[in-house]
Structure formats: C-alpha cells, structure tokens
Subunit: 485 residues, 2 copies
Amino acid sequence: MVDPTSLDEIRMATDVEEMAKDAVRPDDRIDDERHDEENRLKRSYVARVRDALRDGDTQGVYDLVEPLHPADTADLLELIEEVDRANLAAAITDLMTPEVVAELNDHVRELMMEELAPADVATITEQMDTDDAVQLLEDLDEADRQAIIDELEPETQAAVESALSYPEETAGRLMNRHVMAVPEHLTVGDLIDYLRDEGDLEHDFYEVFVVDASHHPVGTCALNWILTTPRAIKLTDVMKRDQTLIPVTTDQEEVALMFQKYALISAAVVDESGRLVGQMTVDDVVHIISEEAGEDALLLSGAGDGDINEPIREAYSSRVRWLVANLGTAVVASAIIAFFGAAIEELVALAVLMPIVASIGGNAGTQTMAVAVRAIATNQLTRANTWRIVWRELRVALLNGATIAVLIGIAAGVLFSPEMGAVIALAMVVNIAISGLAGVLVPVAFERMGQDPAVASSVFVTMITDSMGFFAFLGLAVAAGLAPL
Amino acid sequence: MVDPTSLDEIRMATDVEEMAKDAVRPDDRIDDERHDEENRLKRSYVARVRDALRDGDTQGVYDLVEPLHPADTADLLELIEEVDRANLAAAITDLMTPEVVAELNDHVRELMMEELAPADVATITEQMDTDDAVQLLEDLDEADRQAIIDELEPETQAAVESALSYPEETAGRLMNRHVMAVPEHLTVGDLIDYLRDEGDLEHDFYEVFVVDASHHPVGTCALNWILTTPRAIKLTDVMKRDQTLIPVTTDQEEVALMFQKYALISAAVVDESGRLVGQMTVDDVVHIISEEAGEDALLLSGAGDGDINEPIREAYSSRVRWLVANLGTAVVASAIIAFFGAAIEELVALAVLMPIVASIGGNAGTQTMAVAVRAIATNQLTRANTWRIVWRELRVALLNGATIAVLIGIAAGVLFSPEMGAVIALAMVVNIAISGLAGVLVPVAFERMGQDPAVASSVFVTMITDSMGFFAFLGLAVAAGLAPL
C-alpha cells in the first residue's frame, strides 16, 4: 500500500536547502492587495470597505471582507471608525465567527457586545472555547454578564461560572478546561485507537496528560513522542515525569515566566488538592507575555492601560491621576527653588541652568529605573543579586555623571564663570549618582512591598531627581558664594 | 488487548473538576527549599552554593546543583557573582549541558565561552539545535567564532554558516533547520509507520509540513489531527492549506507579530523561490515576543540594551549618548529661559513656577508617546487610523490640560496673584496639548521614515515639551505685562 520511494522523500530534513530547484513564490498572506509589506491591512483597503459601507453596498462589503483571516477581520473592525463598526458587523454577520470575536481588542469587543441582545451574545459565547468566552464576559458589567450567562447551555454556564469564581488574571480564570487526560496504564496503541474513535478535531491539543486514579497528573506525552513510538509501548514509558504544574491561583505573569523559562508548549493546571482541572497552552500565553512585557513602558509613563481603543473617558481618568501626582512632586521641586529665591534674583544664570541639572538627572534616573523594572519583571533581579546590581548601577551612574559634568562644566565655565562651571559640574555628578541609586532602589523597594514596581516608581524617582537636582545646584552655588541665600 | 473500561477514563474532559477527590499536592517545582514562591532561586540557596564553592567543596556544589532544571542552572550562573562563575562551571562540568548554555543570558554566556578553548565550545555547539548554536556563535567576535566553526563537524558547519549568511534577527538566522516535511501523496498510516521506523525523539515538532515535488509547502498537519484520523485518509485531506509562510528575510519582530496574530504553534520558513528551508516554533518565538515587547520601555528611556548582565562599559556607552543628546535639548530649553532673563530677574516667581509647566508637559508627552509606540509596535496604529488616533490623543490632552490648569491656576492665583494663576493655567493647557500632539506625531514620523519609534522619540518629545513649556509660560507672562522682556 505504501510506495517505498515515497518514504525516501520523508525526512527530518537538515538538508532541505539543497532540495528541489524549479519553484514559484507560494501564495501566502503577504504582499496582496489587502496587506502592506508588514502584514497590516492597507489604508486603501480599509477606505474601500468604509466607502462601500457608506454607499449601502452590503454585498460589496461582504465580498471585500470574505477572503480575510478572522484575525484580519478583527483588525478591520478596530481600524474602521467607530461610527461604522455596527454597520460593518451587520453587513458581515456570518463572517463574525467566534474566532473574530475572540481576536477583537477588549474595548472594541465590549462596545460591540453592548449593542447586541443577550441571546445573540450567548450564541456567540456558546461556540467559543471557555477561555475566550470568559474573556468576552469578564469585561461586561455585572447585569449584562448575568443576562448572557442565563442564556447559556447548562454545561457552558457551569464552565464559565467556575472560571469567573477565580480572580482575574489567574490560571483558573484563563485556563482551557478541555484537557486530553488519559490513565497511566494505556499503551501508545490504545491511545491512538481511542483518539481515532472518539477524538474531536474541534479542540487542538499539543500534549496528552497522563493521570493516576485520583486524577493527579503523573506525566506528559508530547504528541510527536506518541507518533514516533511503537504501539505496544506503555505511555508511562514515553511520558516526561518532570513536569511543570500550575496551581489554579497562579498569576498570569508568573504563568508567562514559567512558559518562557521551561520552553513549555502546554502545562497542566491543578487545583488545591493537585488534581488536573485544565491546561494553559502556549498560544494563549503568547498574548499574556506580550501584554505583560509591553505594559511596563505604559505603566512607567503613567499611561495606564494605554490602549488606543480605550474610551477617551477612561484614558483621561487613568492618565490625569498621574499628572496630578506629578503636579504634587513638581510643587516639592518648586518649593526648593523658592527657598533659593534670593539667590536667583541676584544671579539669573542660576534660573537658566537649573533645569539642565534636573532634566539630565531625570533622564539618568529613568534609564536605571527602566532597566531595574525590566530585570525585576523577568526575574533576573532578585534578592540574590540586589546589592550587586545596586553597586553596578552606581558605577554606571558615576561614569555617566563624570562625562556630563565635564561637558556642562566646560560650557558653563566659558559662558558664565569658572566657578559656575565647577558648581554645575559637581551638582551634575551628585544628581546623576543619586538618580542612579533611586532608579534601582525605588523599584526594588516597591517589589519588596508586594507592589508592581512599574506602576508608581516613576513619580518617586522623578520627585527625587528633580528636587535633588535643584537642591544640589542651587545649594552648591550658595555654598560657593556665587549668590546669597 | 485494550481494557474497555480504561477507555472510558479517557476523555476530552470538560468535567475534570468533578473528578476524583482523595488527593495530595503534586511534587512540582514550586515551594521547595531552592525556589521562592515566584519560582526564583532563593538568596539562601545561591549563598549556599557560593559558600561551598569558596570552601573548595566541589562535591557539595555538585550535589546542590544536580537537582536543578537546566533553566535554573542557567539562572544560578547569572545570579552568582562574576568571580565565582568559572569555578562554578568547572565544579559542575557534566551538568553544563547544551540546554543550560542555550538558556544563559547572552552576556554571561559570551564571558563564559571566552574562557573555554575553541574545541570545547565546538563540542557544546555540536550538541545544540542549530538555532541555539547560532545564537551562541553570533555574539562572539569574528576570530573566536571562526576558530570554533573550524572545529565543527562538516554538517553542523554548513548549517551554522548558512544561518550566519542571513542578517541578524531575521527568520533565516533564527529558524530551526530540522523540519518534518512529507510528500503530499502519503496517507496518515504511511506517515505514522515512517515515524515509528525513522523518527527520532531528539527533535521536537508540533506540525508536519506537506510539500509538493519541488519542495514547496502546500499545507500543514497538526499532530493532533493526525492522531485523531483513520490510517487510510490522505494527508492532503486533513492538512490545513491556508498557512502562514515566513520568507527567510523576515525580521524577528514581524515573525513574532504573525505568531501572535494567527495563534501559530510553528510556521514554515521559505526561501526566495518559495521552497521550505526551515521552521520557526513558538517556544523560540516566545523569547522574541518578550524581548521585543520589553525593549520599548528600555529604548524609550534611552537605556539601550538595558540588560543587567551587560558589561559596565557597554551600559555606560549606550546610556551616556542619550544623556549627551538630552544635554543638547536641555540647552535649547535653557536658551529660551535666558531669552526671558530680564523677566525672571524682575519676577522670581517665574523661576519658581516654570519647572512645573515643563515637568507636567514632559509627563503628558511621555504618556502619549508610550501609548503611540506600543500601538505602532503591535500594528494597531497604522496608516489606516493615524489621524483618528491623533485626534483622540489631542482630546485626551485637552481634558488633562484643563484639569491640571484649574488646579495649578487656583494655587498660583492664591499664592502669587490672579494674573499669575491665569498665565500658568493657560500655559499648562497649551503645553499639554502640544505634548499630546508631539507624543503621537513624533513616533509616527519616525515609523514612516523607517526608524524604530522607540529609539529616538523621547529626545525629541522632551525637547518639544521642555522648550514649549518654558516659552509658553514665560512668553504669556511677558504678554500679560507681569514682567518685562
């Protein structure tokens, strides 16, 4: 039945590059009339959809959208203006698959779901994987959510309610409840026979979890091990016993770090008593990794969620609170300046130069803080090496401070006076050194207090670098006798 | 042969939570004497290893390290002080597996490899996957690298040299050259038979790529589809034809976005003529996603690579250049202050208040910039919605500006004079609006020019917010007749 020459063509190819020559470019997703070279929907394509929509050409809209991958359809809904979204969704109802809804930006999805009847949302939810369904529901407000849950099939209802009983961003909330779990006495052949009879193609899985009689995971089998092993071999002889188990209460950030650290493709989620209750798979974790790693830049800047689809009201409220906090710290810096008012009145050069000291100090502090926050987030900066890293950052800061001090010292010395050059140079070294220390110590302190160091470090570091910059510069100028107090 | 009752226990479990009750906590990797609750090596454990090393207790060191997962052994080498690293590696030679070396931080690995003879590094390289081997070699300097390549087996040598012929951070450099590629006329049964005979367990794979006679990919088969399909079915009937192909020259950032967008587990890499030459798998992409998403916070702050293991000299040189650039922009702001020297001399309150305007403006600009840079990096801010987002950010900025203006206007009105309150309030609105615009327009402009918006946006946005802050405040004060020019 098997043509033996065909098998020669199968290979774990290390030499594929030397193979067949005559070739045409494959018809892939890139470089078509809808996507630009970076695989984003083209502006011209989005405009064509919008124009067809506004002309009421429903069939035209459908024909334009029909060839898209669900992820691209979701992108289209995000890219098109808000006023057109409901019409677009209406024009492509049967293309609005659960995959599209799952791929939608949280804020856009929330707005769209609010326009639908609970029964319609329930129909969509019913077809989604539990983890996606939960993501859809958790963002809605309490009343809307309950109305939809009431419409669900009892089985989905139970799964969704169980997920919602765990805190947000924990494994229990995020896990997929479909798990391929098999007893330990099976052979490879038993498993394959069972899968052929009973397996469904609907739920992808990458590993089979082997469990004991009380449903505790005892090992995992990668599917490629099963495929490369004779039928008679027992699963317990191919499975990997050393597995990473994720307790249901684990925070998503930690789940993401585990997947990265141990290069996992999927992992068993276990309840308090160690029984298998679900799995996390890498395709979901990929979104968490991207979100967790990307949010630090946003949190450090005080931009909150920082999503361009966030309603303006929410964006305003999350950002303005940090600006108000910044106003508080700026007032501290102002008070220090006011204290040296007489000196500035006498020597206006001080007012001209003082923002330079504060600005460079702020920048140096931000650099160190970004490094420290990232190192903490990736578990590289721990209790085991804190002091070594503080000392390292201080040395970098002293080198930076010395360099900047020479440059600004010479410039101020020439433009103003040698004494002024010396004062600003010294102030610069002091402020950059303090900034370097603050940049690492503040985030470390927040972490030790159980706070996310990315959230509030910025305000404190800025306050320290601004105040110390003004104080060091103006204080040294007075001490050097350049101006009166 | 198969016990029928056993098969009942196999299930795609949606109801696993209701299963077996009696249970003990599984022996997982968390909460042991080596790891803290966040799965990081404990300070006390690292100290025990260090003490044993310094006492010359080689066996003690070995016994401590032996139970560790390779990823933890790599962490240990990073956490321990630099002076102890070579001794630690010597004490655990046979635990220094290719997996450990592959998991090491780039900088730590580079330092350690420099201490070994080329032949020893070659032996390690030989046992690694090509993609890991290339990562190890690409960081070394030219001469060291060539010496090691010369020691490699011809086959590995060819694979490594082929990889190094592609630019850094492209699919050609990063891909795994081991691909499971099979011809299109096979059945599921043929494939399983072949895998049992010939497949090795050494290289994990998650999908089988189906290729035509000239080695062009025509579809992919997930392993779970193969396992759930009867033997007689042809692969072409189970495979997914709509696949994402990655050209060899694709940048890693784009590869990462494709994996996220299409929830890929692996993807075929094709050469210029569309032939299959390798694959990218999600476990490697996970590192790229984390790196690309995390580096924005570092780049925005001007901290360069921002790795705590980077040698001090490199950290200094990457950071000081941005401080020098910042010095340049601070001088522009200073020049504006100097221009208003007479006003400040007359009214020292201006010097006291002006840093507030600049500071809040800078913060508002940084918020918008962080949002814009993230949205560009995730392909959410594209040509199709740029003006909508600019308008959105301007509205958020005006709301923020109005709020802050009221607060500072009242405070300054009470503490100084109503005119001063009005001037600073108006200056604040102007500066925050400008900051909001600059925060989105500057990164968008860099992106359109083909530059990474995270790299240089900060310097420009800071310059704009500082200068405009001082100019708006001092200029309005003069215009209002509060002080002379």
